[in-house]
């Protein structure tokens, strides 16, 4: 069986019905006491063996956070979060820390299997000779809760000068790079959740692509939230120097549980002259049960800075999970003729709430951006697209095209589109198109008359609706995303 077919089967077998991934693995946790204060931040910094500048940066962020208020403008509704009732640090206990993949806890590998992480990636995780892995290679930096426990393909990457490692390691081994770029795209006081993340982030990925290098493989991180009541605060920083190219994949699942979980990640991307960064996400965290109980609160700040001329940053996301999604992957288009893209599918069912979109900030002359957003609402869910396109005075001949489509399944859900357009340059062009449609009875009947089951018909129509976004995803992700859409919308019609 080819790897692709096996991957498909693996994905299929775990996505047959409902949310199958409601289990926790039994790896002993190393847990900090509940609550947030300077001592906890010092503990995190100490556990990470961080230099003092990093601790100072965290404390500054904490001080900023204390003065801020949780934002209330999004169309989401949740009981107040008790920030003192969370653990801010959890690490799998390690004796000496796995130095190689052979030392990776078999429990973890078993977990990847249960999660249906594509076999190709698992094989790599399990330490298969890279030459045995056909086609495009994928390196996985697995984030298990807050500590990265496995980092792969370091050798191949090292040869081309690429740095791909846990950010905690980068803080120790590449302090100058981290110091230069961290917080340069998302400053510590940017928003409430970014400030919180800056104070308490525990791990995440660090990627540095040197000048002129095309990263030899797609980089991939699988996140997994695994500890009860542990806020997950990932921090990712990707830097592409002049002429560098990289494609980064992020995918995640979470175990089923009753308590709501807070997740507040920060992702910063920096692209210099002629560099390109493609960042793809498939997000499938636990959305809560059919009555809306449980589920992840996902408050994420993702932003890319196109600093160089002709640089390009492209966000593609398929969001099916989480009880609440608050997420606006953005591009700051500073460079002349720089390009920003945002392709998004957001699915909400049951009682899920999503308020997501993008910001395209045009500053450079001739900068261009494309936004394609597909929102699908079913059940009693609410799905909001919120997007900002800003043309600064300097953005001569800048262009934006936004296409924003909503698909409604059933009568109890909601779709909302909130576009903000600000143009301070008369030569800049902004186009916005929006549609809202329902899966029509006659479409379903047409498909069923041809022999398709109702669910297959819905899948076909939904996948058709999302095609413009799904085709932007790398192959493996596209397959996974299609299955996810199918699972998410199961039983939503009729």
């Amino acid at each position: 069986m080819s790897v692709a077919a096996e991957t498909l089967d693996a994905v299929q077998s775990v996505t047959e019905s409902g949310y199958k991934w409601g289990f926790e693995t039994n790896i002993e946790m190393d847990l900090a006491p509940k609550g947030l204060n300077e001592d906890i931040i010092r503990l995190i910094s100490e556990r990470k063996e961080e230099p003092s500048w990093m601790l100072d940066w965290r404390l500054k962020a904490y001080a900023a956070w204390l003065k801020m208020e949780e934002p209330e403008w999004a169309r989401v509704d949740h009981p107040p979060i008790d920030y003192q009732d969370l653990h801010y640090y959890a690490a799998p206990k390690k004796k000496n820390g796995p130095k190689s993949l052979d030392e990776v806890d078999p429990e973890l590998l078993k977990m990847y299997e249960k999660l249906g992480i594509p076999l190709k990636e698992r094989a790599i995780l399990a330490g298969v000779d890279p030459d045995e892995v056909e086609e495009r290679q994928i390196a996985v930096d697995a984030v298990f809760d807050s500590v990265s426990v496995a980092t792969t393909f370091q050798e191949t990457l090292k040869k081309s000068g690429v740095i791909f490692c846990p950010i905690s390691e980068a803080v120790r081994n590449h302090p100058d790079l981290v110091k230069q770029y961290i917080g340069s795209v998302v400053p510590i006081g940017d928003n409430y959740f970014a400030a919180l993340n800056s104070a308490v982030f525990t791990d995440g990925s660090f990627v540095y692509i040197p000048k002129g290098v095309r990263c030899p493989m797609e980089l991939s991180t699988y996140f997994r939230i695994n500890a009860r009541n542990t806020g997950q605060f990932e921090r990712t920083l990707i830097i592409a120097e002049a002429g560098a190219h990289v494609s980064y994949l992020e995918g995640c699942t979470a175990p089923q549980r009753d308590e709501n979980q807070l997740h507040a990640a920060v992702v910063e991307l920096v692209a210099m002259d002629d560099a390109s960064i493609k960042y793809s996400t498939v997000q499938n965290w636990y959305p809560g049960d059919a009555d809306g109980k449980g589920g992840i609160y996902n408050f994420v700040t993702k932003r890319g800075a196109c600093r160089g001329a002709r640089s390009k940053i492209s966000w593609t996301q398929v969001e099916t999970g989480s009880a609440i999604t608050w997420k606006y992957p953005s591009c700051v288009l500073l460079g002349e003729d720089s390009v920003g893209e945002f392709y998004s599918v957001a699915v909400t069912t049951n009682h899920q709430q999503a308020d997501t979109g993008t910001k395209m900030i045009h500053i450079g002359k001739g900068s261009r951006s494309t936004v394609v957003s597909k929102g699908i609402s079913a059940g009693r869910s609410n799905n909001t697209y919120r997007g900002l396109v800003r043309m600064a005075k300097t953005a001569d001949n800048a262009r934006n095209f936004t296409q924003c489509d909503s698909l409604l399944i059933g009568a109890a859900c909601g779709a909302h589109t909130v576009p903000y357009i600000e143009s301070r340059n008369p030569t800049a062009k902004v186009e916005h198109e929006a549609t809202t449609s329902k899966i029509a009875e006659d479409q379903l009947f047409y498909c069923r008359q041809r022999g398709l089951s109702e669910e297959d018909a819905v899948n076909l129509i939904v996948n058709g609706f999302c095609k413009d976004v799904l085709k932007e995803l790398p192959m493996e992700f596209a397959v996974e995303a299609q299955k996810l859409l199918a699972v998410s919308l199961e039983g939503s019609v009729g």
Binding site: R448, Q449, R450, G451, L452, S453, E454, G464
Partner: protein
């Protein structure tokens, strides 16, 4: 064979079919004609299982199986095919992918193996060629941006691939030029055989020149008011429905 007895159906509590009796023996093609609003399309929808229509009385047995009450997809699996008067657009859904998904669903229900993409394309290309359809019709999205004639041909293509045992063609000829008309007729004629029956709903004699029916039925105000041989269609073409309808009333 199809055996319809006392079939009555309504939509939004408004009765449309008021007691249809109709037998289509295996191997026969029957034409259903009649004035607008007579219930011709409703008959097709009810046989195919469209849910907005409520069957209030009667039965429709096809090859020993009662169709009424079955899911539309189960009827499709039993061999019922409805060529839509206004084929539905499915944005973003590739026509070849749609056809293959449908064909494999039908094949599965018949206990036949599924076709992979290569096998399917070979089959589909042969059919498009036979139907004088451009190859790119397989690549385009289902009925999106198709001309009226292309949509109808796409229905005939689906019928040819799915090989139904009972085809119901709802005004598939309307709006077609003479060449396209021949293609539709050829599509049905190619399937003709002892295991194939068809109900052809049409307004025009000219389709029936190419697709000679065994019987012609006139439907008016939800009832079949007259049945006859192919000559009945020619008579209608000449003198219209008014006489027959008045006679029946």
């Amino acid at each position: 064979m199809l055996n319809i007895r006392g079939l009555a159906a309504s939509i939004d509590d408004k009765p449309i079919l008021k007691g249809i009796d109709l037998i289509v023996p295996p191997g026969e093609v029957h034409a259903v004609m009649g004035p607008n609003g007579a219930g011709k399309s409703t008959l097709g929808y009810v046989l195919a299982g469209r849910e907005d229509y409520v069957v209030t009385a009667g039965s429709a047995v096809f090859n020993g199986t009662e169709l009424l009450g079955m899911d539309p997809e189960a009827r499709a699996a039993a061999g019922v095919f409805l060529a839509f008067q206004a084929p539905i657009e499915l944005p973003g859904v590739n026509n070849a992918n749609f056809l293959r998904t449908a064909l494999n669903a039908i094949r599965r229900s018949r206990g036949e193996g599924e076709l992979d993409a290569v096998q399917f394309l070979k089959l589909a290309r042969a059919e498009t060629k036979r139907l004088a359809m451009p190859d790119d019709m397989l690549k385009r999205n289902v009925n999106v941006g198709f001309s009226g004639g292309e949509k109808k041909r796409n229905e005939v293509l689906q019928m040819a691939l799915l090989r139904p045992k009972l085809a119901i063609l709802d005004e598939t000829d309307s709006g077609l030029d003479i060449d396209a008309l021949k293609i539709v007729a050829d599509g049905v004629n190619a399937l003709r055989g002892p295991d194939f029956s068809a109900l052809v709903i049409t307004h025009h004699q000219r389709l029936l020149d190419h697709l000679v029916p065994n019987r012609v039925h006139v439907l008016s105000a939800g009832r079949i008011v007259r049945s006859g041989g192919p000559e009945l269609a020619r008579e209608l073409e000449k003198s219209g429905y008014a006489g027959i309808v008045a006679e029946a009333a």
